[in-house]
């Protein structure tokens, strides 16, 4: 641990660098932790003191985000991505292997304080897993030989900058490109269009395009822009939601990595249309590896006159973009929670209405759009709304990026016009013998074989882009269990149905999974799921029961083959509960004990 005076100086420097702005709190805590490996009470108090806010505000943020630690933590923090697709690729075996080789228990820190090993929610590397994070930086394509080398590097205390570059290589597997990924885009073209034709004309094109929120919710983007544009307020904001946390989704990662200019340009067009001068990219913490490159792109755009003051020489057109990094909280993908997080707070979704277009960032009118939505908007500004609307279906115009992973030969990114069938996608990605799809992630829907002719579009199967394939060798319930545990970890804890319901649902799924469930438990799951669905405060809790409710209908056999034949089975094991009492009273009959060894005299 650092000397007290050195600690305070370190924190003072960091807080100064962020201009002592409380809205930068999450960014500040990330940097403080980078220096100190964890956030001690002393560090938290120092941050509060430097920012002039109360320590409990800092603590509530520090205890909310899963990548921030308020307990001692290793200098090397290794977190295995634990999505079902990582599990399909054998991550559990690798996790145990690494923990053994390093001599550290899973979910704990080694005695010498050098290294911690644990798991985290999907890191968005499903097409190149098993994946992990080391101090927040993505590791891909893990194998035992690679882990052997990592053990050596950790034990030799080799700085991350000296680790082999190929460990951190993130490849964009684009297997199918259409109008968004396939056509060349000249940087600045959309900005020239908006300057030449004026914001009104661009709004017009946006309306004609029919573009809908590509994060999956499907709200008309033009309506959002118009509402924000008309909202009273001197200061307005543009926010790009790059908090791509839905397990199985990684299309925004590819867009930010390979098409950042397009996304930034879409944001800048939006800024011009609604009258904003400031934009933010809220980038999920798992993608911190690309922050430096994104900052360089922003800088080169400033130098080219495409960002900053007087864009393209027009003194009335100023707009800049700042990057905020998340810290491991799926709920921040919900737009009002994202705004809270952007303001430096813990990410609890706000009460709506009012909506962000009138009361968003710092209570000012704000447009929050998904990465893909901004990229599409940039293209629409250049090519026109009709061009975009010529693809897709009646209610879903344009194209959709799908992130394919799981049991298929060619996982990666596929861009399709809306309306493509599930079956077509499965054929294209080389899925042999698929039994089901988790569409749109755990919050989406489970699709069995008999529904493969359904179409991907807002009228039928809406999706933010996650598409995880399960073939017939898989046990669907393994996936359901993984998702149930995911929601427990990610619930923000604000409202009762989600905070408690996710834990109750996990316990019920575990009970069935371990062979202790009965028909009564399945009925219980349905009732509980209904309470969560209709009663929760935000989309997280409302969709958390989806995997269970869908699979009960679509894959009843996955549950039934594990059920006990009795009508009811208690949640506790009577024999286990009585074991110690029986031992104390000296019972020796074999029926008294579960474990043979106890009969030999060992105390239970």
């Amino acid at each position: 641990m650092m000397e007290s005076s050195a600690l305070i100086q370190t924190i003072r420097d960091i807080v100064q660098r962020h201009n002592k702005m409380p809205t930068r709190l999450l960014q500040i805590l990330r940097e403080v932790q980078d220096s100190l490996t964890w956030l001690s009470a002393e560090a938290i108090n120092a941050v509060a003191g430097e920012l002039g806010i109360s320590p409990d505000k800092v603590r509530s943020v520090a205890t909310f985000y899963s990548f921030l630690y308020t307990e001692p933590h290793g200098s090397y923090d290794i977190l295995f991505s634990d999505n079902i697709t990582d599990r399909m690729l054998g991550n559990r075996e690798l996790l145990h292997y690494l923990s053994e080789r390093l001599g550290v228990e899973i979910n704990s820190t080694r005695k010498d304080g050098l290294v911690s090993v644990g798991t985290t929610s999907c890191t968005g590397m499903c097409d190149q897993g098993p994946a992990a994070l080391v101090n927040g930086y993505a590791l891909t394509r893990l194998t035992k030989p690679r882990l052997d080398r990592i053990v050596g590097l950790v034990n030799a205390k080799t700085p991350l900058e000296q680790w082999p570059r190929e460990f951190f290589e993130v490849v964009s597997h684009i297997h199918r490109a259409d109008i968004l990924l396939g056509r060349h885009f000249a940087d600045g073209a959309a900005l020239r269009a908006v300057l030449k034709r004026g914001p009104d004309a661009i709004v017009e094109e946006m309306v004609k395009s029919g573009l809908r929120g590509q994060g999956g919710a499907g709200f008309k983007s033009a309506a959002k822009w118009i509402s924000c544009r008309n909202a009273p307020g001197e200061v307005k904001y543009v926010v790009c939601n790059a908090d791509e946390g839905e397990p199985g989704t990684f299309k925004d990662r590819v867009l930010m990595q390979d098409f950042a200019d397009l996304v930034f340009e879409g944001m800048t067009v939006c800024g011009r249309v609604i009258g904003a001068r400031q934009g933010f990219v809220y980038l999920r913490g798992e993608y911190r590896y690309m922050v430096d490159a994104l900052k360089a792109t922003l800088q080169s755009r400033r130098e080219a006159g495409l960002l900053g003051e007087a864009i393209l020489g027009d003194p009335g057109f100023s707009f800049d973009i700042d990057i905020h990094l998340g810290a491991g909280a799926y709920v921040c993908g919900e737009e009002s929670a994202l705004i809270e997080s952007l303001e430096g707070k813990h990410g609890v979704p706000r009460i709506r209405p009012p909506f962000p277009t009138t009361h968003g960032y710092l209570n000012q009118p704000t447009v929050v759009n998904n990465v893909e939505t901004f990229a599409s908007a940039a293209k629409i500004a250049v090519q026109g709304g009709d061009w975009f609307a010529s693809r897709g279906t009646a209610e879903s115009k344009g194209t959709k990026l799908l992130s394919l992973s799981g049991d298929c030969e060619r996982p990666g990114i596929y861009e399709y016009p809306f309306g493509v069938t599930v079956r077509q996608v499965l054929e294209d990605c080389g899925a042999k013998n698929p039994q089901g799809i988790q569409m749109a992630g755990p919050a989406g829907h489970m699709i069995s074989e008999k529904l493969f002719d359904r179409r991907i579009c807002f009228e039928d199967l809406a999706t933010g882009g996650s598409f995880m394939v399960f073939d017939h060798s898989r046990d669907i319930l393994d996936g359901i269990r993984n998702f149930a545990h995911f929601f427990v970890h990610e619930s923000c804890g604000f409202c009762t149905p989600c905070r408690v319901g996710t834990s109750l649902m996990r316990d019920l799924v575990d009970k069935v999974h371990t062979g202790h469930g009965t028909r009564a438990d399945l009925e219980e799951m349905r009732k509980l799921g209904q309470i969560m669905r209709v009663g929760s405060h935000c989309g997280l809790g409302q969709t958390a029961p989806n995997p269970v409710l869908d699979s009960l209908d679509q894959f009843p056999e996955s549950y039934e083959r594990r059920l006990r034949s009795t009508a009811f089975e208690p949640a506790f094991d009577m024999n286990a509960a009585l074991e110690q009492a029986r031992w104390l009273t000296g019972r020796t009959d074999p029926d008294a004990y579960l474990d043979e060894e106890i009969l030999q005299g060992a105390m239970p």
Binding site: A41, N45, S54, P55, D56, R59, S60, T63, F64, Y65, S66, A329, H346, I351, P353, V488, H489, E490, S491, C492, G493, F494, C495, T496, P497, R499, V500, G501, T502, S503, L504, D507, K527, L528, Q530, I531, V534, G535, S536, H537, A571, F572
Partner: protein, 246 residues
Amino acid sequence: MSEESTFTLDGRKVPFRDGQTIMAAALAAGVYIPHLCFNPEFPPHGSCRVCLVKVNGRMQASCTAPAMAGQVVQSETEEIREIRRGILQMLFVEGNHVCPACEKSGACQLQAVAYYVGMLAPHYTHFYPRRPVDASHPDALLDFNRCILCELCVRASRDVDGKNVFAVQGRGIKAHLVVNTPSGKLGATDFSLSDKAAQVCPTGTILSKHSGYEIPIGQRLYDRKPINVVGDVAALAVSKGGRRHD
């Protein structure tokens, strides 16, 4: 009253002012909608979800849903009662609520609302969390086992008392009430029993020391009449069996 400024609640016309929520309008009209984190003296919070109603066919928290002309609101239907009951049962298994031994039994809003929605047993498997009590304060006892995270004490201490004694920390099922001192102990704060924060708890989390069990069972606040008739414990004076200091 013009036609535009009413909605129907279980078939009854309820007038409202612009900007009022369904809960506030119902309360003003004398119609009870069960609630826990809502207290009319504070801005709505919307976290307990007990006050769910069906608004034009969609379930919403009545404490945050704006009242609008012509809305058709359902509250006392069996479907909604069942959902409310489920939410109450969740709260009971999440903490450790030992009603028969609790000093607030009979004058507890959580217990009274549970009876109101027809909850007779916790139904779900108990979590049995470990939550040590805090007896460090000379006059008050904090029993975190009974906390339902309504944040009323947090809000009251911060916004009314100006003391900021309480906070909620942690995420998800690990979210919990804390005391804002380095030791985490109430004894290290300037908290007082006359604080607003001591009067708003809908459960028995914040208790006064040196007196207890003074009112016998049978004569406690909700022993004779249900909460929809009696009203919230936080709204009633101490002399009437409530928590409010006059």
